[in-house]
């Protein structure tokens, strides 16, 4: 989820000739990751940080070609549904000329020297970057391996390598000699690795971008219960650990009485840890009963005391005053003074929990000298260092294995490494020797903070003679990165770019423009949440432009296209594509049905959506969503479609129903009864078109989310309803 372009966009920096400073920043940013956590100590993981410029293409670190002819890809990105197992295997298999049936994938272990994300400089998944940062790398791995296999076969057959061809996993020579990868692999892997293996011409692709050429590698195991998640880990003597954490953010244990808890059969121990009181038991249920029996007095002297209501009134008051300017051009104040039709809108965005289907958890085994941690880890490098530091051992003494995770939506990538620290603290508190599984209940997870930040956008626009002449967007929000190791990477002029991304640059030409920000501290921990700043900036910008276009008497599609001019070809491309797909003929239809549209770029991927809905007593009912996406080269078209479908459903559930309310410093919703999730009966039909593109591939995990909410709001407006000013649209919805 690190995605600030100033740091991570290779192109921007290549243009600015500042590749070096980008490197320096990455080192600084990542080095801080642990430095912040334990001040004054050299980050241990930094010591074996890879040289930033090196790109590992060593086949023997990424591929296991077994004698049985299977090719297993070690995937450096975590698989939690967005498809990197299949994507990485596609890239390798394409260049290797493997047969899809022989491909497998597993997670690479934590090892930044080998498996760093080329955009981050450390190992981690986020910012919809998995395919983007691996497209060439994994193809080169496949191409290098192919060349090594061919060279081995040439030697064995005593023929020229140039006379050998490879097709569907079979190595062939015109003489009729042929063999399979498994027969040559052991020898081939010992050969020198070609420095710059020849890549295929995209015109010759058989798998990349070919619909139906591959199937997900993880579908079968996820359809018969055999896929192993962290919650499923088990070992003899393993204890399940639950932690009682402070109900209020910022509260700490003052004192506790574990007498009753220890009397519960199956409870083995109770220990205080920095985040609360940990109960160690033989299985989940005794741990739960033990935790329920704890008596804890909390010290709330440093806890957050405000609730959503108080925070909202503070934010609202601030929104009426100009913040610190993020970006401006023209003279917007003068423009407003000239008169015309002045339009104002204030949008309020709630705290949102990620509520991934598998709550947070982790497995750890520490023997005093070495440790093994296994869990659905999204940022291995910082987590790895944190575990080592808590246990007081070197990173080389800690093995961190990445497991499948039941969703994340950002939650498992932690700038503060808080869950990794807690996992290690739990091991430290009871002492070496016991395998432990730390489990968060749904309530722990949902009330555990690290939410999509609460925020307000106050929009003002002026329309004169059918033209949008001025635009201001005053944002009030909490920084995701402030005080975390990543602050250096996303802060510019003291402002967190993840708070305003998408609002500072809009794809529409408006002569007089200002975006400003009030960055406010709140004691509620916040985090990136599937599409980060675009979760709210996408809504604010796209709902407001639609409102202004309406005031200007223009069609939502035509009006947008006109304002894009010739400068936004990819925005315009997806907008035109979705209009065509939906057969757009204006927003109003018969029988109470209306349509709305929105287009948002996030993570260098462009997505436009048209929704069709009608209103019921329970709120909007979505019938269909049309979606056009431009993500550069489409590596796995069906996974792209799946991510658009999922992104649409995820966005819809939240825009309609979801809100984590805070009361006096404590989060209210603990489960899906109060934090309502989208269900199948609320899921619209979805039709996706992938816009053909030769641009470098970009991600699809997040970009399907942002346009949905504003498209719904814009459709509702066509029924004469106000575009929802405060989300969720159906407040107080319970399941």
């Amino acid at each position: 989820m690190i995605h600030d372009r100033s740091i991570l966009d290779e192109k921007t920096h290549a243009e600015a000739g500042s590749t070096l400073s980008r490197r320096a920043l990455l080192q600084a940013g990542a080095g801080l990751a642990i430095g912040v956590y334990i001040a004054g100590r050299t980050p241990s993981f930094a010591q074996n940080r890879p040289a930033p410029q090196s790109v590992n293409i060593l086949p023997n670190t990424f591929l296991i070609i077994a004698p049985d002819d299977t090719v297993t890809v070690l995937c450096k990105a975590i698989e939690f549904g967005q498809g990197p197992f299949t994507g990485f295997a596609t890239l390798v298999a394409e260049e290797l000329d493997a047969d899809w049936s022989q491909m497998r994938a597993v997670h690479a272990p934590s090892n930044p020297a080998l498996y760093k994300n080329l955009l981050f400089g450390v190992q981690g998944t986020g910012g919809s970057s998995a395919i983007a940062n691996s497209y060439e790398q994994m193809r080169k791995v496949g191409a290098a391996a192919r060349q090594m296999l061919v060279a081995t076969a040439a030697e064995r057959w005593r023929v020229a390598a140039s006379e050998i061809s490879v097709e569907n996993g079979v190595i062939k020579h015109a003489s009729g000699k042929q063999g399979r990868f498994g027969e040559f692999a052991t020898e081939a892997m010992l050969r020198p690795v070609p420095a710059d293996p020849q890549l295929k011409d995209p015109a010759d692709f058989k798998l990349i971008g070919r619909d139906g050429a591959v199937q997900r590698l993880d579908s079968a195991a996820k359809s018969n219960g055999s896929a192993i998640f962290t919650l499923d880990l088990d070992e003899p003597e393993m204890l399940t650990v639950l932690i009682a954490r402070s109900p209020k953010f910022g509260g700490v244990v003052s004192s506790f009485d574990a007498t009753a808890a220890k009397q519960i059969a199956g409870v083995v121990d109770v220990r205080q840890v920095p985040t609360g009181v940990a109960v160690y038991a033989k299985g989940f249920w005794p741990a739960k009963l033990g935790r329920d029996a704890l008596k804890i007095v909390w010290d709330d002297s440093k806890a957050e005391t405000r609730g959503t209501r108080e925070i909202l009134s503070e934010f609202r008051a601030l929104a009426k005053t100009p913040g610190k300017t993020v970006k401006q051009h023209g003279d917007v104040d003068a423009e407003f003074a000239k008169g015309g039709r002045l339009i104002e809108a204030e949008y309020v965005f709630p705290y949102l929990a990620h509520a991934a289907m598998e709550p947070l958890n982790g497995f750890i085994k520490w023997d005093g000298d070495t440790a093994l941690a296994r869990y659905g880890c999204q940022f291995p490098t910082p987590d790895h260092g944190a575990i080592a530091q808590v246990l007081g051992i070197g990173v080389d003494k800690v093995k961190l294995e990445v497991l499948l995770a039941g969703g994340s939506f950002g939650r498992r990538a932690q700038q503060t490494v808080h869950a990794a620290i807690e996992l290690a603290e739990v091991a430290k508190a009871i002492g070496p020797g016991k395998p432990l599984k730390l489990v968060w209940t749904r309530e722990d997870d949902m009330r555990g903070g690290y939410y999509r930040p609460f925020g307000v956008h106050r929009m003002r626009g002026v329309v004169r003679d059918g033209k949008i002449e001025g635009w201001t967007d005053t944002i009030v929000g909490q920084s995701i990165m402030k005080g975390t190791p990543f602050e250096a990477m996303t802060f510019k002029d003291g402002m967190d770019s993840t708070t305003y991304e998408g609002s500072n640059e809009i794809p529409y030409e408006v002569a007089n423009f200002r975006c400003d920000l009030h960055q406010v501290d709140v004691g509620v921990p916040v985090l990136w949440w599937r599409s980060v700043g675009h979760t709210h900036t996408g809504y604010a910008v796209e709902a407001f432009i639609d409102e202004l276009l309406e005031a200007a008497g223009q069609d939502p599609v035509e009006g947008r296209l006109a304002l894009m001019g010739d400068n936004k070809p990819r925005h315009a491309g997806v907008l035109k594509a979705v209009a065509e797909l939906a057969n757009w003929k204006g927003a109003k239809l018969e029988a109470g049905r209306v349509r709305g549209v929105a287009v948002v770029e996030s993570f260098n991927t462009f997505v436009a959506q048209v929704v069709e809905l009608s209103m019921t007593e329970e709120g909007p009912k979505l019938h269909k969503v049309w979606c056009a996406v431009d993500c550069g080269v489409a590596v796995n078209p069906d996974i792209i479609r799946a991510q658009m479908e999922g992104g649409i459903g995820f966005a819809l559930g939240h825009i309609l129903y979801a809100e984590q309310t805070i009361e006096a410093g404590a989060p209210v919703a603990g489960n899906f009864d109060k934090y309502r999730s989208l269900r199948i009966n609320e899921m619209p039909e979805v039709e996706v078109v992938i816009v053909a593109s030769g641009e470098k591939p970009t991600g699809v995990g997040e970009p399907g989310v942002p346009p949905l909410g504003p498209a719904v709001a814009n459709a509702m407006a066509k029924l004469g309803l106000p575009r929802p000013r405060q989300l969720p649209i159906v407040p107080g919805a319970t399941a």
Partner: protein, 154 residues
Amino acid sequence: MTAYRLNINGQSHAIDVDPGTPLLWAIRDGAKLTGTKYGCGVAQCGACTVYLDNQPVRSCSLPVSAVGDSQITTIEGVGGREAAAVQAEWVKLDVPQCGYCQSGQIMSAAALLARNPKPSDRDIDLAMAGNICRCATYVRIRAAIHGAAKTLEG
């Protein structure tokens, strides 16, 4: 602690737990069958769906003391034409994303087809609304159930 004998997937498992222990945890921590998932613990999400005498139930909200001699079926033991058709279609359409909810989805879907071999969209809504998928794979779940129904038609 009380000793129970649970009949899971045709096998008898001896389990010694507190009588209030939800069947889910008896299956997972006791019988060591981990295909059945924990998602909410309060009968909201369906991740823990198993069959009790062939009827889908939320195992997180059923105390082990209430199970008696009933036959329990989990994703590991689910068999029969409906489940096979559902699982095949799930793979064919690449339904799962993170996959964590899918054991429960498949148990609910197979149970639906067993009592209604040709469900309408509305039947699917009614039968599947208790199973949350946070990845929102609902479009494909629906398509896969229709696909499985077709297979079963022969």
